[in-house]
């Protein structure tokens, strides 16, 4: 069985950008800020492309929900080796209110429509840090889930997955079709080469709207406010180990 793999890729503010809270205190500044593919989703795409290179997957489809610029994120996935893309258009204003639950419904509908065998997504997006999309999509599809994966092996009709859990590692088997969420150590994503970037321009990106998939994107959550975290004041410098140990003993910390 050669797998049809869908991969969710999210466009987020680049991980190296210093986040600034918006003056209206309802979000963070995104205008004129560098965006990239969510780093965990890069790992997800890389894994899917490797499955294709090993002939375990027959097709890799990159899916992104978001404004027009989400196409750039899909292009990056295509340049890394995905075969085609699906762009679910959500205008920037609505994107702020698009919750992981909505994205899960969209992904579940697309997986059904495409007849996918495997969905891989990053374990969390580095903007909202929710860590729920894989689990919810699996739930909606009534599929098993292998979250926080650090190694995937395909056996007959199953995936054997190593998961990163709190105290170490865990091994599980999930029956296909299944959903996997990628953790940091699953692989090291490749850089897209110039020839592949050129080739990616010719690959197809299909456009649709959440309504085309009959997904209702009414918010379940309301943002009350977004604030800067409390600032931690720098303390003092001590001259030597003696001084450090004395201060710690005075404070009752050791």
């Amino acid at each position: 069985m050669s797998l049809k793999v869908l991969v969710g890729v999210k466009r987020v503010i680049d991980y190296a950008v210093k986040i600034r809270v918006r003056p209206d205190k309802l979000g963070v500044v995104t205008d004129g800020v560098k965006h990239s593919m969510n780093p965990f989703d890069e790992i997800a795409i890389e894994e899917a492309v490797r499955l294709k290179e090993k002939k375990i997957a027959k097709e890799v489809i990159a899916v992104s929900c978001g404004p027009a610029q989400a196409q750039e994120t899909i292009r990056t996935a295509l340049a890394m080796g995905a075969d085609r893309g699906i762009h679910v258009e959500v205008p920037a204003k609505e994107m702020e209110k698009l919750e992981p639950l909505h994205v899960s419904k969209i992904l579940a509908k697309l997986v059904e429509k495409e007849g996918g065998d495997l969905l891989i997504v990053g374990k969390q997006a580095i903007d909202d840090d929710t860590n729920a999309t894989a689990q919810m999509t699996a739930s909606l599809l009534n599929w098993p889930q292998a979250t926080f994966a650090s190694e995937i092996k395909k056996t007959d009709g199953e995936l054997e997955v190593t998961r990163e859990i709190d105290g170490g590692l865990e091994s599980i088997k999930v029956k296909l079709p299944a959903v996997v969420s990628a953790d940091l150590r699953l692989n090291e994503p490749r850089y897209a080469t110039l020839p592949n970037i050129m080739k990616a321009k010719k690959k197809k990106i299909q456009k649709m709207k959440p309504g085309d998939l009959s997904v209702d994107v009414t918010p379940h959550l309301e943002v009350v406010e977004v604030l800067d975290p409390p600032v931690r004041e720098a303390g003092i410098k001590v001259d030597d180990v003696e001084g450090l140990v004395t201060k710690l003993k005075e404070a009752g910390r050791i």
């Binding site: 860590n131 689990q135 105290g167 379940h220």
Partner: protein, 312 residues
């Protein structure tokens, strides 16, 4: 108003984050029940009976629950929800809680709220976004709130004074063929667990090698501390991944955090900046870690740490 807390345990003892989840549940108001699902987990039930503020314990005991697979736990949580109509379902934001609760939430058509750090009202919560670089307060419009709780943000509930009764839950029709638990490889250590330790000693790229972490272990043993590491140290292969403190690793908030040879990348700060006292030892006086440290020592760690081992 009533809350179900999904207890996390290893069939012998509760995981500490469960007690933090109970504290968060008490802040929501109303009755607090706990679900203990596992196999031969009566010791856990007994332990939980003592927890103050818990009124009822639901027990699902079955050999099908070995390995705590979310595909099998989710139907049990949903069955409890169908029977008792809780307004809130809460678990710790651990690997288990994060795997399980979204799976439950999707079935209830609810937007889960992950990793909260504060309860403002029964429907209003604070959580950190962008690796802790902003704090978001949000209000849920869902009839049932499905929430995971950051352990370090809520004091553990006391295991005394409680007198909860327990009742069994029927366990049937679990999807046994979907997934299978094979095994776990847990890092063994006599030191306290990283997220529960009162003192944490962490090393960064400045440690230069895995062997050099030996001196941090020695210092940790003198201080009864856990040992952590920055992502740079993990990526360089000095220590295993489960020692990583930071946004993508573990979030810790001990009374004392000693950062050794750690520059203080934003991802690392997100994982430890709620520690009560932060000590930084680094030879680079410009290292960003000094901007958050209560006590900074600009020194060569290879001289300072051995000296510290002698003096504490």
């Amino acid at each position: 108003q009533s809350t179900l807390v999904v207890a996390e345990h290893d069939n012998n003892a509760l995981t500490p984050i469960t007690l933090s989840a109970i504290t968060a549940a008490k802040k929501l108001g109303g009755d607090v029940s706990c679900l203990v699902a596992g196999h031969n987990c009566s010791k856990v039930v007994e332990e939980l009976t003592k927890a103050s503020g818990v009124t009822k314990i639901l027990v699902a005991d079955s050999d099908a629950l070995v390995g705590f697979l979310p595909e099998r736990l989710a139907p049990i949580v949903l069955a409890s929800q169908n029977q008792f109509n809780y307004t809130h379902i809460v678990a710790g934001a651990s690997a288990l809680g994060k795997s399980l609760l979204p799976r439950v939430a999707a079935q209830l058509d609810v937007s889960p709220i992950s990793d909260i750090i504060e309860v403002k009202a029964p429907d209003t919560f604070v959580r950190s976004i962008y690796a802790g670089n902003a704090l978001m307060t949000l209000k849920s419009k869902d009839a049932v709130k499905v929430i995971t709780v950051r352990g370090t943000s809520f004091e553990p509930a006391e295991l005394s004074g409680g007198s909860a009764g327990s009742e069994p839950l029927p366990v049937s029709d679990l999807p046994l063929d979907m997934s299978q638990f094979i095994g776990q490889e847990l890092s063994k250590s006599d030191r306290p667990e990283l997220t529960a330790a009162k003192t944490v000693v962490s090393g960064g790229r400045g440690m230069k090698s895995g062997e050099n972490f030996e001196m941090l272990y020695k210092l940790a043993d003198k201080l009864n501390a856990a040992v952590g590491a920055s992502r740079a140290a993990v990526d360089a292969g000095f220590v295993p991944n489960d020692m990583q403190v930071g946004q993508t690793g573990k979030i810790v908030a001990p009374e004392l955090y000693i950062a050794v040879g750690i520059s203080g990348a934003i991802q690392h700060l997100a994982g430890m900046k709620d520690s009560k006292t932060i000590v930084a030892i680094n030879k680079d006086p410009e290292a960003p870690i000094f901007q958050v440290a209560d006590l900074g020592l600009v020194a060569d760690l290879f001289k300072a740490v051995p000296e510290m081992i002698e003096k504490v």
